[in-house]
Each structure stands twice: as structure tokens, then as C-alpha cells.
């Protein structure tokens, strides 16, 4: 097998998948499989998206009106369901993003004070 196993896979935190999907759709519309692959690649294979939770999440976001879906032809000419960000989704992404940045900064401050003391 040419593919090497990623070192460790991270469990997705509760509620993070939705932000990741929104962020993935920021530039262009994608179908479900592409979204999963994009998240996997961009996170350097650290995050693995379970199909079992991807589709419920997509439909949940659609139900909330943050993304919209339409049937289009894929690069290879097959019918696929493409999701794109709605204006409300964009707003939501901005809000979520700043929330996550604040959260990760806070986590960092707490988890890394020893380094600072050492400096």
C-alpha cells in the first residue's frame, strides 16, 4: 500500500464540523465527498470526517438556511449535489470564526504559560 497511515487522527470536537464545512464552502460550491476530502487534506490528514456525521451535518446546515444545495454535473460529468454558502451562512461563519479564534487563544494562554515563564 502506497498510502502511509497518518500519525494520529484527532476526534472532531462537538460542533466543530459545522464551522469547518462553512469555511470549506467559503470560496466555491462543493459536493459532500469533496468537502470531506478538503477538510482531510487541509488539516494534513489530522482530521478525518466520518461520512456518518458529514451528511446529517450538511442537511442540518441546510435546514438552518446557512448553506443551499443544488444538483449539478461534477468535473467527471456525474450528477452531484453541490452545496454553497448563503449570505446568512457567511455571517454565521464570521461569528463562529471569531468565537473559535478567541477560544483557541484562551486555550493557548492556559496551556502554554510554562513556556512563557521559561522565557
Amino acid at each position: 500500500m502506497p498510502k502511509s497511515e497518518p500519525p494520529t487522527r484527532l476526534e472532531l470536537l462537538q460542533g466543530t464540523l459545522e464551522v469547518l464545512i462553512l469555511r470549506t464552502l467559503l470560496r466555491e460550491a462543493k459536493h459532500g465527498h469533496a468537502i470531506a476530502k478538503h477538510i482531510q487534506r487541509t488539516s494534513e490528514d489530522l482530521l478525518q470526517v466520518e461520512t456518518g456525521s458529514l451528511y446529517p451535518a450538511l442537511h442540518r446546515l441546510e435546514a438552518k438556511g446557512w448553506i443551499a444545495a443544488s444538483w449539478e454535473l461534477s468535473d467527471k460529468g456525474k450528477r452531484a449535489r453541490y452545496y454553497r454558502l448563503t449570505p446568512r451562512g457567511r455571517k454565521q461563519l464570521v461569528a463562529e470564526q471569531s468565537k473559535w479564534e478567541a477560544f483557541s487563544r484562551a486555550m493557548g494562554l492556559i496551556l502554554r504559560p510554562a513556556d512563557q515563564e521559561g522565557q
Binding site: A34, T51, Y55, P56, A63, W71, K78, R79, A80
Partner: protein, 920 residues
């Protein structure tokens, strides 16, 4: 809001959406597989690993669908549709289950409707919760009256715990407590008046009245339907005579409340003015009564001057005469306990001052402030015990019905084991399967409940007829109301949950693999593991059904025997072909001494009707009588249980009571002739032994003693209530006694149906005095049946219940046995192939059924012996361990069990070994 409509829209687009989702997931799979092929895997391997990565597509779909809309609602609809389909597919099962549940729930609803009407419903007045009833309780009820401060009591009392309770008080107590307005915002008094002659526009009828104090209507906060209600100024000596009538009377006699106000009516020949009408739903404070009119309390000075127990202005001052009843409305924030704590000492002090000797001080009545929301407890005291007993019985029936359903479901759960195993193995959520099975049973229970309400509706009407059984003015009208409907609904859903849960839990516990292996062999495989537990559960259910049925059959037997004992009581007179009716000439305005001649003249006219063999009259009918006065024999008091009956001429020949010696009272005995008396056999035996009683003199005591000569001895005839023992009885001519003559009961010995003579009798009375209405017209036989009303109701109902229980248990036993035979088809086939005879197979099946019966009876008999002690007070002439009852109950039960077991046993014996073995 938007999401609501979107969900609604999605719900309508479900089918298309599901297809889309399927396509979407399919696309995902293909993409994934393609990617893996590019990574170098073979096509099959790529597809396989993609599938593996995706997981169970059904679950992904399920989870995705969950975000679309109301998944719970959707699943519920699914479950319901599935449940209805299953029910339709198993018509016999559904019919059996619904029938037994409907019968159980129907009977419970009917009885509960009555409990609700009698025990739970509040008075139809505003804020009934703040009303309280005042009662007293005294420790020592049994001693002679001089031991009490209650020297005379006019009203009802009842034994409670170790003492006597009552709600009647001297008027002085009302005045005392009325002052205490820290507790009550209002205190009012009332008492029940006797039946009155009410003449409206020249037409007389007998009506029930209530005396009420001026605070009564304001205290109850009842608004008038027309005019005004009684106020304090109406309730004083010398006030203008006014009356408030009920809406029912106003409708009947004045065609509407508005027309009644201002009209004059005659009550016992005294003119009263109608000042107002009560609202239609109002029936006073006692659900057992429904007065036609309300009088100011002090009107009794006008109306009750002539009766022997005349009310005089002094009566209101009498401190040892107990006669008025009271209710109060508590001030906001005052509790019953606080009220009692505040009032009891004041009452205590007041009654202590009325004691005339130290013994009276020892057993003073103590005040009790009791709940008044439901009005007076008359009906509750009368019917609560029988109703609770009935409720226990129908509760048992429901238990049998539930056991039945549980058993049927249990059998079916085993049959559906494979279906459930398949569903679990393809990824169905266990909770989801449980929910679906529960939906099925609750659905079943709910339908049973609906059917039960229909049955109950019919049952309530039936019970009303049964309980009223000839009582005029039966005030109890139970209807199916919201309480009852809710109670039934809860009951049926609860049943569904209870009997649905056990089999549902068991079904989903199945070991998937062994159940899936298929074929009946496999089914038997896992069954042999579970067999012990499963079979024992269903066996326990069957045996307990038999136990309960036995209890019901024994109860029915005891009540039927009680009834037949009552019916075979030696009455001592001929009950057939006697017409009884009552009239009261005094209330219509007749006076002494003319009234005596009037009554006698009427008797003569009745006697001359063609077809009437003889006619007589007495102060009460033999079964309704209960009068005792002081009698002296040779200067000593006669036996205290001695009773008297004031009769007219020809009493003994009319009632066909044999005279043993001497003559009966006849036309020769006038007010002016020598005082005479006829004694019964028992009286003679007690007081004269073997001496000749004829010509002996006895004295009626009291303020005006009178000497009487014994002119005859009659054989013992039943006097008073049917269950009472024979007492010494004296028959005294009504026209020779000092007691003022009131109402009289005429008895006519007829040829043919007594009721045929009613029109002629009415005509004669109307011609004699049109102001006198005829009351309580009945045959002697009907009067006797009426006194056995409760026993008749119990015997009929219990027989019905016992049959119901037997039918339901029979259905259960049949179902279980039939199912057992179906399961053992292969085994029986092998047995028969090996040479077992049909008879042996049949005995094998019946043997098991009989084993259940024997076990049930072994448990049931001691239980029945124990439980029948609870109904002892309802029995007469039969002991709780009556061998005849127990024996026939056991016999009936065995018969029913054999019948239920015979059909499946016969089917088992007809099994064709070839077919049976080929099936596997």
C-alpha cells in the same frame, strides 16, 4: 416560524427527498471508490473499502432524515400505520384483545362514573373549596340517652369509629358560632323538612322542602334564576310567609322561572308567596336530596304547629334539643384545622353548660369542622362501601383482561421473534423497536378504551336503572363527564404500557444469531433456553386469571344465596295482590276529630270497589313501620324492642295474617268504644307465657296513658326491615290513640293485578278531596323488592361480573392452549407417528389445562375464604365459608376451563403426522 413551514414542506416532499439522499450517498460511494482505485486498489476492493468507510448506509440515511423534520412525529405515524396493519392482519387476536379490554375498561368507567358522582364531585356553587360542614362526634353512643346532653335528636346520626357522629345542633350553637366571624365569612343553618302538600293553582302534589336560615343563599353564593332568594329579614318569627322554589318546580308548574315570581302557593294549606327561583343546577347542600322549595327557617312556627313534635318559639331556645344543621364559608386564608381549633373550645364550653349531671359531662360531643365542597356526606356514607366493593370487582376484571392481553402479546412476541431479530440485525435501534412494539399495545389499549367508553355509557344507564329500582325521585344522575373520560384514557394507556412493556422487552432481548438461523428448529433452540422463563410467565398469568375468576364466582354465589335467603323469609302475610298507597289528609287541611271519619269513609269506599276483596289502613306499611311507645304490662315496662302499628279495621283479613285466638280490629272499634289491642304471638310469649292473654289489660304510657284490652292474638308477621328479627308487636286502632293522626297507608287486597285499580282509587280520592295527592303507589311485592334493592343489584351485578371474568379468562386460556398446540405441532406429529392415540394426545393437552385449573383453585380457595370476610356485612343468612357456594364455584370453574381447553385439545388430536413433519 420559517423552519416550521420548511419542515412542513419537507414532510410533503419526503419521498423525493429520500431518493435524492440515496443518490447523494451513492455518488459519495462512487467518488470514494474511484479515488481508491486511483490509489491502486482493484475495483472490488476499492468499492468494499469505500463501503466500509461509509458505514451502514441505512443508519446514515436515518440520521440524515432525522434533521429534516419532526422525526418523532414521523416515526409515530409510521408506527401507528404499522400497528393498524398488524392488528388488521391478526383479526382474531385483535378482536379477542379489544373485547376483553373494552369489557374491563367499560365496567371500570361505569363504576367510576358513579364514584365520581357520589364521592368526588363538588357542589355547583362558586368556590366550593372554602365551604365546611359542622359535625360533632361523641364517644359513647350506646348508653341510654340521659347519659348525653343530646336529650332529644331530630335528624340523622351515624356510627363512626368508637362513637356517634351527627350534624345536628341546638339552635343556640348556631347563634354562638355565627358571632365568631374571625373564622367564617358566613355561617348558615338549614334542616330537611318532611314531605309537604304543595298546592299550586288548585292542583296538589307532594313536594320536598328545606328550611334555611337567612344566610343560606348568600353563604352558598347562589344567584337567583329569577326574583330574589331568602335573606335574613325573611327568617324571623312573624315575617310574611315567603318561599323560594327550584327551577325544576318552576318549569313544571309555572312553565318558567320568570312566571313563578309573585305567585301564591299553598303549603300544607297555608298561603306562601313565591319570591324567587334557584338556578337549574342547584340542588341544595345534600346530593342525596333535591328540595322542590326552600322556606325561611322560622316558617316552621307556621307550618309545624300541628304535628306531634310541634315547633314552638321555645324550640329555638331548647339547649338539649338537637335539630338544625350548619355549613360555613371560611375566610380567605383560614384553614379547616384553624377553624376547628378556634371554634371547638367555644362549643365545648357551651355544651358543658347544658349538662344536667356529671355523667353527661363525661361524654360531651366535640365539634368537627369537615370538608364541605362535596356537600353533606349522606350519599357518601350510604354508597361508598358498596361502590368501593364494586370498584374492586371491576378492577379485578380489568386485571384479568390485562393478563389476557399480556398473554396474547407474549405468545405473539415469540412468534414475531424472527421478524424482530431481522430488524435488529440490519441495524434497527433497540429503543426504536421497543417504541414500535409499545405503540402497538398502547394503540390496542386506546381502541379498547374507546370501545370501553361506549360500553360504559350503556353501563351507566343500566346501573342508574338498577340502583334506582323503583325509588321515586332518585337524585343520583351519574353521567360520563370529563373526569371519567380522562380516568378511562389514563387507565387504557396505562394498561397498554404495562402489558406492552413486558413482551416488548423480551422480544428485543432475543439473541439475534440463533433466532436468525431460521426454521422452527432454531426457534425451538433459543426457546429451550428461554422456555422456562417465558412459559412460566404465561403460566403465572393463566393461573392468576383462574384465581381471580374463582374469587368472582364465589362472590357472585354468596350474593345470590343472600338474595335467595331474603326472598324466602317468612313474611307471615300474603305479599301477592296487595296495592299500597299513602295519603296525608292533615297536610291538606283536615283536623281532629273529622280526619278520623274522613279516613274511615275513604276505606269503606275503597272496599266497595268491584274486585277489591277488602281494604284497610295503617300508619305505615308493615315493612316501612318502626314506631315504639312506652307500654306497661301489669304496671311494668314491656320489652324495649316492642313495636306498635296503628291500624284500621280489617287489617288482618286484608293482609291475610291468621288470627290465632280472639277477633281482629273491626268497625266496632270506634274512638269512643273500649280501648282494644291485638298482640302478636311473640308479644304473648314474652309477656304472658302460657297464660291466656285474652281479656288482659295493658297500658300505653306517655303523658296521656290509656288502658287497652287484648281482644286477639295474631300469628307473627314481619315488621320493619326485612333483615330484622321477629319482634313483639301490638296492633292498636289508629282512631283510639292520642297521637295525632298524620299520613295513612292504605292496603287493598285485589283480585288480579293490583295496579289495575290505581285509576279508580285516584278518582275516589279526588272526589273525596281534590287537595290530597296520592303518594308512593306500589304493590306489596314491589315494596319488598325495593327493600332488597342493594342485594338484588349486588346479586345481578356480581353474577354478570363473574360471567365476564369467566369469559375473559376462558378466552385467555383458549388462546394460550391453542398457541401451545400450534407450537408443538411437530412434536405431536412425531408422537402420533410413533403410535400415540388421539385420546392420549387429547388427554395430554387437557391434562395440562386441568393442572392450571387445579393450581388456580388451590390458590384461589384460601384467597376466596379470606376475601369473603370483607363482604360479610353485605351477606344475610349465608356464611362466608358456605360449602354449597364454594363447591359450585369450583364446579363452574372446572367446567369453564374444560370448555376452553377442549377445542385446542381436539385440534391437537386431529393433527396429521405427515403434514406436521413436512412443515419443518
Amino acid at each position: 416560524m420559517i423552519s416550521f413551514f420548511r419542515k412542513l414542506w419537507w414532510l410533503t416532499q419526503r419521498r423525493a427527498r429520500e431518493d435524492e439522499l440515496c443518490e447523494e450517498l451513492q455518488f459519495h460511494l462512487e467518488e470514494e471508490a474511484e479515488e481508491r482505485t486511483e490509489e491502486g486498489l482493484s475495483k472490488e476492493e476499492a468499492l468494499r473499502s469505500a463501503r466500509f468507510e461509509l458505514g451502514n448506509p441505512a443508519i446514515v440515511e436515518e440520521n440524515t432524515r432525522a434533521v429534516w423534520g419532526w422525526i418523532l412525529l414521523e416515526q409515530l405515524i409510521q408506527d401507528l400505520r404499522y400497528a393498524l396493519r398488524t392488528m388488521l392482519r391478526n383479526r382474531v387476536f385483535t378482536a379477542l384483545a379489544l373485547l376483553s379490554l373494552a369489557l374491563g375498561i367499560g365496567a371500570n368507567t361505569a363504576i367510576y362514573s358513579f364514584m365520581d358522582a357520589i364521592l368526588l364531585r363538588s357542589l355547583p356553587v362558586s368556590d366550593p373549596e372554602s365551604l365546611v360542614v359542622l359535625n360533632w362526634h361523641s364517644k359513647d353512643p350506646r348508653g341510654p340517652r340521659p347519659n348525653h346532653v343530646m336529650h332529644s335528636m331530630d335528624g340523622s346520626d351515624w356510627v363512626e369509629g368508637d362513637g356517634l357522629s351527627s350534624g345536628i345542633f341546638p339552635f343556640g350553637v348556631f347563634e354562638l358560632l355565627r358571632e365568631n366571624n374571625a373564622v367564617f365569612s358566613n355561617l348558615f343553618a338549614y334542616y330537611h323538612s318532611d314531605k309537604r302538600n304543595l298546592t299550586i293553582k288548585g292542583e296538589a302534589e307532594i313536594a320536598a322542602g328545606e328550611y334555611v336560615s337567612g344566610e343560606y343563599f348568600t353563604g352558598l353564593a347562589v344567584p337567583p334564576a329569577a326574583g330574589r332568594l331568602i335573606i335574613a329579614d325573611d327568617d324571623r318569627a312573624g315575617a310574611p310567609p315567603v318561599v323560594v322554589i327550584s327551577a325544576g318546580l318552576a318549569d313544571r308548574r309555572f312553565s318558567g322561572a320568570a312566571n313563578a315570581v309573585g305567585q301564591s302557593v299553598l303549603i300544607d294549606n297555608i298561603v306562601f308567596t313565591v319570591i324567587g327561583v334557584t338556578p337549574p343546577e342547584f340542588f341544595g347542600v345534600d346530593p342525596a336530596e333535591s328540595p322542590d322549595f326552600y322556606l325561611p327557617m322560622h316558617a316552621n312556627l307556621l307550618l309545624d304547629r300541628t304535628v306531634p313534635w310541634a315547633v314552638k318559639p321555645e324550640t329555638y331556645l331548647e339547649r338539649n334539643h338537637y335539630w338544625i344543621q350548619m355549613m360555613g364559608r371560611l375566610r380567605p386564608g383560614v384553614t379547616r384545622a384553624q377553624a376547628q381549633a378556634a371554634l371547638a373550645p367555644a362549643f365545648q364550653q357551651w355544651v358543658a353548660a347544658t349538662a344536667s349531671n356529671p355523667r353527661e359531662l363525661e361524654s360531651l360531643p366535640a365539634l368537627r369542622v369537615e370538608e364541605g365542597a362535596g356537600g353533606l356526606g349522606t350519599l357518601r356514607r350510604r354508597y361508598s362501601k358498596p361502590l368501593y366493593l364494586l370498584l374492586v370487582m371491576v378492577g379485578l376484571i380489568l386485571a384479568i383482561a390485562c393478563a389476557n392481553i399480556a398473554n396474547l402479546l407474549l405468545s405473539r412476541a415469540a412468534a414475531r421473534q424472527r421478524e424482530i431479530a431481522v430488524r435488529l440485525s440490519i441495524g434497527a435501534d433497540r429503543l426504536r423497536v421497543l417504541r414500535q412494539l409499545l405503540t402497538e399495545s398502547v394503540c390496542l389499549a386506546f381502541l379498547g378504551g374507546v370501545l370501553g367508553v361506549v360500553l360504559a355509557f350503556w353501563g351507566v344507564n343500566f346501573l342508574t336503572v338498577l340502583l334506582a329500582n323503583g325509588h321515586e325521585g332518585f337524585t343520583l344522575h351519574a353521567g360520563l363527564n370529563w373526569h371519567v373520560l380522562i380516568a378511562t384514557f389514563v387507565l387504557s394507556v396505562f394498561c397498554g404500557a404495562v402489558f406492552g412493556l413486558a413482551p416488548a422487552l423480551q422480544s428485543t432481548r432475543a439473541e439475534v444469531m440463533s433466532a436468525l438461523k431460521g426454521g422452527r428448529a432454531a426457534e425451538r433452540g433459543w426457546q429451550s433456553k428461554l422456555a422456562f422463563r417465558r412459559l412460566s410467565l404465561s403460566h403465572v398469568l393463566v393461573v392468576s386469571q383462574i384465581v381471580i375468576s374463582l374469587l368472582m364466582v364465589v362472590a357472585a354465589g354468596l350474593f345470590v344465596r343472600t338474595l335467595s335467603h331474603l326472598q324466602s323469609i317468612q313474611l307471615g302475610f300474603n305479599r301477592e295482590n296487595v296495592l299500597l298507597f299513602e295519603l296525608n289528609a292533615r297536610q291538606a287541611g283536615h283536623h281532629d276529630p273529622e280526619i278520623l271519619a274522613f279516613y274511615e269513609e275513604l276505606r269503606k269506599q275503597f272496599a266497595s270497589i268491584p274486585g277489591i276483596r277488602s281494604a284497610t289502613l295503617s300508619h305505615a306499611s308493615l315493612l316501612g313501620a318502626g314506631r315504639g311507645v312506652e307500654i306497661l304490662v301489669s304496671g311494668k315496662s314491656a320489652a324495649p324492642e316492642t313495636r306498635i302499628l296503628h291500624t284500621g279495621p280489617r287489617f288482618f283479613s286484608t293482609m291475610q295474617i291468621p288470627m290465632l285466638v280472639g277477633r281482629e280490629i273491626d268497625e266496632r272499634d270506634t274512638p269512643d268504644s273500649t280501648g282494644v289491642v291485638v298482640a302478636n304471638e311473640r308479644f304473648v310469649k314474652v309477656h304472658f307465657g302460657t297464660e291466656d292473654p285474652l281479656g288482659r289489660h295493658i297500658t300505653r304510657g306517655g303523658p296521656h296513658p290509656r288502658e287497652m284490652e287484648i281482644i286477639g292474638v295474631a300469628s307473627d308477621a314481619h315488621y320493619g326491615r326485612l333483615k330484622d328479627a321477629t319482634r313483639p308487636v301490638l296492633y292498636i286502632p289508629y282512631n283510639q290513640d292520642q297521637q295525632r293522626v298524620q299520613q295513612m297507608v292504605y292496603a287493598l287486597r285485589t283480585t288480579g293485578d293490583p295496579l289495575n285499580y290505581v285509576p279508580t282509587v285516584r278518582e275516589i280520592v279526588h272526589r273525596a278531596d281534590s287537595r290530597i295527592p296520592l303518594v308512593d303507589i306500589r304493590t306489596q311485592a314491589a315494596e319488598i323488592d325495593r327493600t332488597m334493592n342493594q342485594e338484588i343489584v349486588f346479586a345481578r351485578l356480581c353474577t354478570g361480573f363473574a360471567m365476564l371474568a369467566l369469559v375473559i379468562a376462558g378466552i385467555g386460556l383458549y388462546g394460550t392452549t391453542a398457541y401451545g398446540v400450534a407450537r408443538r405441532t411437530a412434536e405431536i406429529g412425531i408422537r402420533m407417528a410413533l403410535g400415540a392415540q388421539r385420546g392420549v394426545v387429547m388427554r395430554m393437552i387437557l391434562g395440562q389445562v386441568l393442572l392450571f385449573a387445579a393450581l388456580g383453585i388451590a390458590i384461589g380457595l384460601p384467597a376466596a375464604l379470606g376475601a369473603s370476610r370483607l363482604v360479610q356485612s353485605f351477606l344475610f343468612g349465608v356464611k362466608t365459608d358456605d360449602p354449597l357456594t364454594l363447591g359450585s364455584a369450583v364446579g363452574i370453574l372446572f367446567g369453564a376451563v374444560m370448555l376452553a381447553g377442549y377445542v385446542p385439545a381436539r385440534r391437537a388430536s386431529r393433527i396429521d403426522p405427515i403434514h406436521a413433519l413436512r412443515e419443518d
